[in-house]
Symmetry: C2
Subunit: 314 residues, 2 copies
């Protein structure tokens, strides 16, 4: 469920006028920006952008990018984009970094519907004049490439049917590959990238029942770190997205030095989907509400904006 507290009876043109006023003159009224955009859903934000363009012949996203700065600016920028366009930007930003955060691609491929993923690819092509897959393939190599390109390109079966016999035989294939320390075995990549989510869950459960331990534990301690790390991330994200995102946030704020990019990515992409469940999971796991944890580790307008997206006022 969404964590967002939306004002249903807002008017796009009134919002656009208030945002114009907030950007007027020397200095920006960041609180006004937060009080409006932090309480509008994706459709409302789109209407505001259109009203703003019509009223002032100006791109609201670019104007705010210019007016704001730092982590706050990046969070507002991502929040303002259409979801598919935002995911395309997140993917491209990840690829252009020296230390690429491959979790972005795992999250895209594991949490979006095939239709949503198709829209992200169209948005990517329209922005960057290349395909997501070709950029990803030319930035990676070997097993990591096989895994990531497979993940973002393959259209998994969406039905709920599970073949238990297949789950059994593929659990054995995984076990054999892991026992032989062949973590890059092509069948591992095939099973993880092509099988439907329910089928994969059955295989992973079977693995756990049979061997008394989750496959992610057995995949540890491999020299090809980026590949096995991404493989484990994928399995965790498919198996339980709520727990996965809780852990991503926990690591982003608990490790020395908050990772604002990661924190922003999860809050902004999940706010209108399952952030409420992620918050509950966070509290269960850490005995501290997520908003308190974030308030402790962030500051200023950035903090206020994230809290607004969490449905909490400053």
């Amino acid at each position: 469920m969404t964590s967002l507290v939306v004002y249903e009876d807002s008017s796009p043109s009134a919002d656009a006028e208030l945002l114009k006023k907030a950007c007027h003159g020397w200095g920006t009224d960041e609180k006004a920006v937060i009080s409006i955009l932090g309480h509008r859903n994706a459709y409302q934000r789109k209407m505001i952008r259109e009203a703003y363009q019509q009223l002032y012949q100006e791109d609201l996203v670019k104007r705010l990018e210019h007016e704001l700065s730092g982590d706050f600016e990046r969070a507002v920028y991502r929040w303002n984009l259409d979801p598919a366009d935002r995911d395309a930007v997140l993917a491209n930003v990840a690829l252009r970094k020296e230390n690429c955060d491959y979790r972005v691609f795992v999250e895209l491929s594991s949490t979006l519907s095939p239709e949503e993923l198709f829209s992200v690819k169209c948005a990517y092509q329209s922005r960057y004049k290349r395909s997501l897959e070709e950029d990803l393939a030319s930035h990676t190599s070997c097993d990591l490439r096989k895994l990531l390109v497979g993940l973002v390109s393959i259209h998994r079966y969406q039905g709920s049917e599970v073949n238990l016999q297949l789950a059994n035989s593929e659990s054995n294939i995984l076990k054999n590959a892991i026992e032989e320390k062949k973590f890059d075995h092509e069948d591992i990549v095939r099973i993880i990238t092509t099988r439907s989510r329910p089928q994969l869950m059955a295989t992973l459960n079977r693995y756990k029942d049979e061997h008394g331990c989750s496959i992610t534990k057995h995949l540890k301690n491999d020299p090809d770190y980026a590949y096995t790390e991404t493989l484990r991330t994928t399995i965790r994200c498919i198996y339980n997205p709520t727990k996965y995102f809780e852990k991503v946030i926990r690591n982003a704020i608990k490790k020395s030095g908050t990772n604002e990019d990661t924190l922003t990515r999860v809050i902004v992409t999940r706010a209108e989907k399952d952030l409420k469940e992620i918050m509950e999971q966070y509290y269960k796991r850490n005995s501290v509400p997520l908003d308190q944890a974030i308030a402790k580790e962030t500051s200023g307008h950035y903090k206020r904006f994230l809290l607004a997206l969490l449905g909490k006022e400053d």
Copy 2:
């Protein structure tokens, strides 16, 4: 351009009634079936199926499958399906054969738009309760799997921009891999499966200019026949689909024993797209019109039906 001669002012319910009459009693009026279905486009055929279902509470596709037989039945069956559904059936039939004809997947991936390919995958899932990619991946292995799964899953960039510097460097990458006889080099698969068609054309042209020979010639004589053969097929299909399909038809009818499955596939899938250009190319290459060549190698209702799709009456 389509080769089909369509009767624009047909009525779906009148057509449905005529088809019901053609199937009535002992024996079927195949000529009536051909004279109707051989002159209706995909939309009209869909309307006829719907009218037939409404009038007689019966599935026309299944009824005709039951009434007709042999190559004629298979051709009419494929023709009657929605294009995306037909492609899903062709892919599944190919996978279930002992000697899989991988050209089916090459043709799907190289000639359909991303939207069309997406629809084929949805149709495949709805029919077979599995994804096209998982079936393809579990029926193949090693390099052939990498190539084919990449082809059907990757969403190529659709724009016309070409980066000539990239074409130059990737032409060199291909050349080096071929010189070292590494036909399975991961960069070959990456370039062929991920680059946009115009970009790939530029790379292949650059290769030809630089080395005085097309890459498909250099890819010959490899021990891993299915893989290199599929790679060459892909390059030819992307480079010039008209020439590619002309050759497929030529081989299907000229080799000893006509390959009706292949002939049907090409005629049925291309009739409403570019069969006219393929027919012109066939005449240019063989100095015999395609309809004459087909009439010579086929017979009966099957022959009459194919000729109707070619826009020629018996």
